[in-house]
Symmetry: C2
Subunit: 190 residues, 2 copies
DNA sequence: TTTGTTAGTATCGAGGCGATACTATAAACC
DNA sequence: GGTTTATAGTATCGCCTCGATACTAACAAA
């Protein structure tokens, strides 16, 4: 019947989650965007922990992202350091306080309660569907995928616990290979 | 692996759609919220075409909803009329212009392109999953479901083309029974 | 060295949003 | 009846987001 039911549903669910995030973040003076940014830096690998990467991730202008970061810095939730190699670049990492607040607020209770009421099969199916939607949407949009390092076409496996990035040629630690990367590209299909 | 992958995905997809909506709406001076509000009134039945219903639908305070409506009114996208029965109540409907802009912008191109690349089975499966998530989330939240009239527990079928609302006892036209209602309650399960 | 590109910041204006306070109408209660 | 209470909506304030524009600093290429 409805032609774009999927869109409606995504928007409504997104809206509810956003409203929830706003409510929860309010007591810390945090907006939804702040929490998204915190979540991003918590997961970003060393190629992606910069304001520019956040800009692309959030899909906003760099001015806006800069503002967001300023707020987080003033609240002592992130720490900026100048990159030694390229002095234009700023590296961002979460402070202990930032990590604590993120862990307390994300994902919000509402989602925890909701996903607990779905059975495993439903949830898996949903996740698979959403993954595909996101992937298709990003490539339709010419946007970066921000996928996990391990799943990238540039990811090279050189031994039992030895990895390397085929793009930068640098070795990667196992922990880092589970973080998200700005340069991530999906393995070409078929 | 990831414990709350579903949440991440929903937030990211929601963010992309939101950014897209913002971009598209910009040339008309419309924010994402404005388009959500327009979309709501386009679908709201006669029990739900009021600022109060919009407030609950968007999950914001009534002051905020009132502001949003003011903008839409000034842009000549909606028209307010005083209710004759209850003079506290304001009825909102889209102007021709409002309908045209809504049709042009929602759903955004990005979604149309994305959903076109999914096959029918995938899409159906996804919609079913999202419907369940929304339902569970709304009841976990104590929020109204804003479902389609026909699917409500108060919906009564009195003949081939004769319907009635069991809550207000008023007769319903077929067209109206396909709109969304503020008083909607799901049929209790099993 | 000049020219161009990239990373990031600063500032401005429109608007979202919650909080608070307010008006007007309706309903409930005694 | 009249009083209280609840509901629908608006107005105003302050903080924040966001895009647009303009800017600086550092790197890269010619």
């Amino acid at each position: 019947m409805e032609k774009h039911q999927g869109y409606e549903l995504l928007e409504r669910i997104g809206g509810l989650l956003r409203a929830e995030l706003r409510k929860r973040g309010a007591e810390y003076g945090l907006q939804p965007t702040h929490l998204h940014a915190l979540g991003f830096f918590a997961q970003a690998n060393r190629y992606s922990n910069t304001p520019a990467a956040l800009t692309e991730y959030l899909g906003v202008t760099k001015g806006t992202a800069s503002q967001t970061l300023l707020v987080l810095e003033n609240l002592d939730l992130v720490k900026k350091t100048e990159d030694a190699q390229d002095r234009r670049v700023v590296r961002v990492e979460l402070t202990r306080r930032g990590q604590a607040i993120l862990a307390a607020l994300v994902p919000p209770e509402l989602w925890v309660a909701t996903s607990a009421k779905l059975n495993k099969r439903e949830l898996d199916e949903l996740v698979r569907g959403l993954e595909k939607v996101l992937r298709v949407m990003q490539q339709a949009n010419g946007a970066r995928s921000f996928g996990v390092c391990r799943t990238c076409r540039h990811f090279l496996r050189e031994g039992a616990n030895k990895f390397r990035c085929g793009l930068t040629q640098e070795p990667l630690k196992a922990a880092e290979s589970r973080k998200i990367c700005r340069e991530h590209e999906a393995v070409p299909a078929e």
